[in-house]
C-alpha cells in the first residue's frame, strides 16, 4: 500500500497548502482586510458584522500574523468556518451543510455515469477504428472545449423551455413536502435529470478520447495478438486489452475531477439547483467572503476525497502497485 500512503501524504500537504492560502490571501491584499471588506459592502454594516469579521480575520486580537494563523487553525479544527455575511448570523458551515448533499448526489452520479459511458464508448471507437465512428472525435472535441455552463444554458433553452420535457430550475417541486414519499423522490429525480445529463455530456469526451488513444496503443501489445491468435472470443480479447488500457483513465481521474466539480458548480447555477454552486453565486454577488472561503475549503476536501477513492480503485486494478518494495 505504498501508493496509497504516498498519495495520502500528498493530499495532506495539499490540504495544508489550501488552508494556508485561504488564510493568507486576504492578508496579502493591501490594507486591513476588515476595513476593505466593509468599504466594499455598500449596504448595512452593523457593529455585529464588524466584530464577526474582526474575529474571522483575527484583526485587533493583538497577536501577530503567526498567532492569527494558529488561531485560524484552531477555529478550523473545531469545524468553525466563520459567520456568513449575507445571511448573518448563520454560520458558514450550516449553509454549506444544507447545500452539500445536493451537489454530492448530482456530481457523484454524473461523474460515475460519465466515466463508465466514456470508457465503454472509447473501447468501441478504438476497436472499430477507421470506421465512421472516428467522426465522433471532432464532435467530442467541441463538447470538450465548450464551457459546461453554456451547454447547460442550451439544455435549459432546448429541453426545458422549448420542449418542456424537464423542469427549468430548482431541485424538487416546492409544493411537495420533503421526505421519503414517492412523489417527492420522483420529483427530485426529475429535476436532477437534465443537470446530470449536461454534466455527463460535457465531461464524457475526455474519457472517450483518453480511452481510445490508450486502447489503440494497447491493442498493439503482443499479448493481445496472442489472445486473438488463440481464438479467444472477441469480447474476451477486448476485455484483456481494456483492462490495461483503463489504467491511465483512472490515474487521470485526479486531474479531471477538479474540472468536473468546477463545471458542475456552474451547471448548478444555470439550473438554480440548490447545491454548492448556488451558494457560491450568492457568496460572490453579495461579497460574502467568509462563505466564499469556506466553499473553497469544502470543495478542496471533497476533491481530495474523490482522489483517494480513485487511488484505491487504481490499487485494486493494478496489482503492481500492491507489491511491496
Amino acid at each position: 500500500m505504498r501508493l496509497i500512503s504516498r498519495r495520502l501524504g500528498l493530499y495532506v500537504v495539499t490540504a495544508i497548502v489550501a488552508i494556508t492560502a485561504n488564510f493568507f490571501i486576504p492578508h496579502l491584499m493591501p490594507g486591513n482586510p476588515v476595513l476593505s471588506l466593509i468599504g466594499r459592502m455598500q449596504a448595512q454594516v452593523s457593529t455585529q458584522t464588524i466584530t464577526a469579521l474582526e474575529l474571522q480575520y483575527g484583526v485587533n486580537t493583538r497577536t501577530g500574523l503567526w498567532g492569527q494563523y494558529l488561531h485560524y487553525w484552531a477555529q478550523l479544527l473545531h469545524g468553525n468556518l466563520g459567520i456568513s455575511l449575507s445571511s448573518y448570523p448563520t454560520p458558514v458551515t450550516t449553509l454549506i451543510r444544507g447545500a452539500l448533499p445536493w451537489t454530492i448526489g448530482l456530481v457523484g452520479v454524473a461523474t460515475v455515469l460519465s466515466f463508465v459511458l466514456g470508457t465503454l464508448v472509447g473501447i468501441v471507437v478504438a476497436w472499430r477504428r477507421g470506421s465512421w465512428l472516428d467522426n465522433i472525435l471532432p464532435v467530442m472535441t467541441f463538447f470538450q472545449a465548450v464551457p459546461y455552463f453554456f451547454l447547460a444554458i442550451l439544455a435549459v433553452a432546448l429541453f426545458a423551455t422549448k420542449l418542456g420535457w424537464f423542469p427549468q430550475n430548482s431541485a424538487y417541486d416546492i409544493t411537495l413536502n420533503p421526505g421519503f414519499s414517492g412523489p417527492y423522490i420522483a420529483s427530485v429525480l426529475d429535476h436532477a435529470a437534465l443537470p446530470a445529463l449536461t454534466i455527463v455530456l460535457a465531461s464524457v469526451a475526455g474519457w472517450i478520447i483518453t480511452m481510445r488513444n490508450v486502447m489503440i496503443t494497447t491493442m498493439d501489445e503482443d499479448y493481445v495478438l496472442i489472445a486473438q491468435a488463440k481464438g479467444l472470443p472477441r469480447s474476451r480479447v477486448i476485455s484483456y486489452a481494456a483492462r490495461n488500457a483503463i489504467l491511465p483513465s483512472v490515474s487521470g481521474f485526479s486531474l479531471a475531477v477538479g474540472f468536473i466539480v468546477s463545471g458542475a458548480l456552474l451547471t448548478e447555477i444555470v439550473f438554480s439547483y440548490p447545491g454548492i454552486g448556488f451558494i457560491l453565486l450568492q457568496a460572490i454577488s453579495n461579497e460574502d467572503y467568509p462563505l466564499l472561503q469556506g466553499i473553497f475549503l469544502v470543495i478542496t476536501f471533497a476533491v481530495l476525497g474523490a482522489n483517494l477513492i480513485a487511488d484505491f480503485v487504481y490499487a485494486f486494478l493494478d496489482p503492481r502497485t500492491r507489491q511491496e518494495g
Binding site: R129, N213, L225, S262
Partner: protein, 367 residues
C-alpha cells in the same frame, strides 16, 4: 471545460529526430500531417486571432451603450443589429467583437506564461532529479489536485474589486493554476532523456547544466511543449469564461463570459420566447476557439504517436497506403515513422492526391 487527460504517452524515439536524418527528410517530418482536422483547426485559430486584433475596430456600436430606451425586451436579429440586442438594447454583435479580444488575449497570456513555468519546472525537475525533483514534483502535484476554479474565485474575489480588471493581470493569475500538468509531462520526458548517450557525452565534455537543458534537451521536447501550450490556452479560455460568467471579474469588462453572465442573469434561456441570439454567439465562439486549438493538438498528437495517425486515416487514404480497411487485430501500422528512416517502403504521394494530404507515407511493421 477541457480535461487535459488526453495526451498520449510519448515514445522517446518519436519526439527526437534521429541523428543522421538528412535535412530534406527532416523538414518533411517536422511538417504536421495535413489532415482536414488540422487544416480546419488552423483556419479557425487564425480567424479568431484576427478577430481579436481587428474586432474592436470594426464593431458597429459601443458594446455598453443603450441604443434605445423605449424597448425593455431584447430584439431578435435585424438589419440594424445583425445579432440582435440585449435587454437594455446593447448591440450583441459589438459585444462579441469587442469581447473577443479580451477573451483571446487573456487565454494566450495564461497559456504562454503557464508554458514557460511548465518548461522551467518540468525540465529542471527531470534533469536534476533528487531533492529538486521531489520538491518540484510535490509542488506540481499539489497544484494538480487542488481544484483551480474555486481557488481563483477566492483570489479574484479579493483582488479584482480593489484593482481594475486588466487582461495581463488576469492572464498571469490564471497561469499560476495552469502550469502543473505540462510540468509533469515535461518532467517525465526529460527524465527518460537524461541517460541518452548524447546527453551523457555533453555532460562529460563539461557543458553547463543550463546549456544542456536549453540546447540539448529542450529542442527535442518542442512537440510536448506545443501540446502543453495548446492545452493551457484551452484551459485559460474556459477558466476566464467561467470567472466572467460567475461575475468574479468585473461584469463591465466585456468578454464572451461576461456576455453569458448578462444573458443568464436576465434568464434569456428561460423566457417563453427563447432569446437565443443573446447567448448562442458567445457560447459558440468560446466552443469553436477551444475546438480549433484541440484540433491542432490532434495534429501534434498524431505527429508524436504515429499509431494514432494511422488510426485517424480515412478509408481511402488507408487503402492507398496498403492498409487493411478495418484493422481489427493489433498491428496499427506506423506511418511516416519519425526517427526510423530506412524501414519499409516510402511512397511519395504529394501532388497526386485529391484529398490534399501530401505527407509521405511509410508503411512499416508495428515495431
Amino acid at each position: 471545460m477541457a480535461i487535459p487527460v488526453g495526451t498520449t504517452p510519448v515514445s522517446p524515439d518519436a519526439t527526437a529526430p534521429a541523428p543522421g536524418v538528412t535535412g530534406k527528410r527532416r523538414m518533411r517530418m517536422l511538417r504536421l500531417p495535413r489532415s482536414p482536422k488540422i487544416m480546419i483547426g488552423l483556419g479557425l485559430a487564425i480567424f479568431f486571432v484576427l478577430l481579436a486584433v481587428i474586432g474592436p475596430y470594426v464593431a458597429p456600436y459601443d458594446p455598453s451603450a443603450s441604443l434605445s430606451t423605449t424597448k425593455g425586451t431584447p430584439l431578435p436579429p435585424s438589419g440594424a443589429h445583425w445579432l440582435g440586442t440585449t435587454q437594455v438594447q446593447q448591440d450583441v454583435l459589438s459585444q462579441l467583437l469587442v469581447g473577443g479580444r479580451s477573451t483571446i488575449l487573456v487565454s494566450l497570456i495564461a497559456g504562454a506564461v503557464a508554458t514557460v513555468l511548465a518548461v522551467l519546472f518540468g525540465v529542471t525537475a527531470g534533469y536534476f532529479g533528487g531533492w529538486v525533483d521531489d520538491l518540484l514534483s510535490m509542488l506540481a502535484n499539489v497544484f494538480l489536485v487542488m481544484p483551480a476554479l474555486p481557488l481563483l474565485i477566492v483570489i479574484f474575489g479579493f483582488l479584482s474589486k480593489s484593482a481594475s480588471p486588466n487582461d495581463l493581470l488576469i492572464g498571469l493569475v490564471i497561469s499560476i493554476t495552469g502550469w502543473a500538468f505540462g510540468a509533469r509531462v515535461l518532467r517525465a520526458q526529460t527524465l527518460s532523456m537524461r541517460t541518452w548517450d548524447y546527453i551523457e557525452s555533453a555532460r562529460l565534455i563539461g557543458e553547463r547544466s543550463w546549456r544542456i537543458m536549453t540546447f540539448e534537451i529542450l529542442p527535442n521536447l518542442i512537440p510536448v511543449v506545443a501540446t502543453s501550450f495548446l492545452f493551457t490556452v484551452i484551459y485559460g479560455v474556459g477558466t476566464f469564461a467561467a470567472l466572467s460568467f460567475l461575475g468574479v471579474i468585473s461584469v463591465a469588462h466585456w468578454s464572451w463570459g461576461t456576455m453569458l453572465y448578462w444573458a443568464q442573469s436576465a434568464q434569456a434561456a428561460q423566457q417563453v420566447h427563447i432569446e437565443w441570439w443573446w447567448f448562442l454567439p458567445a457560447g459558440l465562439a468560446l466552443g469553436l476557439f477551444g475546438t480549433s486549438l484541440a484540433l491542432l493538438n490532434f495534429g501534434i498528437d498524431e505527429f508524436i504517436n504515429p499509431r494514432l495517425r494511422a488510426a485517424g486515416l480515412t478509408g481511402r487514404q488507408a487503402r492507398r497506403a496498403g492498409m487493411p480497411r478495418h484493422p481489427r487485430l493489433g498491428l496499427t501500422p506506423v506511418i511516416a515513422s519519425a526517427g526510423r528512416n530506412g524501414s519499409g517502403t516510402s511512397q511519395d504521394r504529394s501532388g497526386q492526391d485529391g484529398s490534399g494530404s501530401g505527407e509521405s507515407l511509410m508503411v512499416g511493421g508495428p515495431r
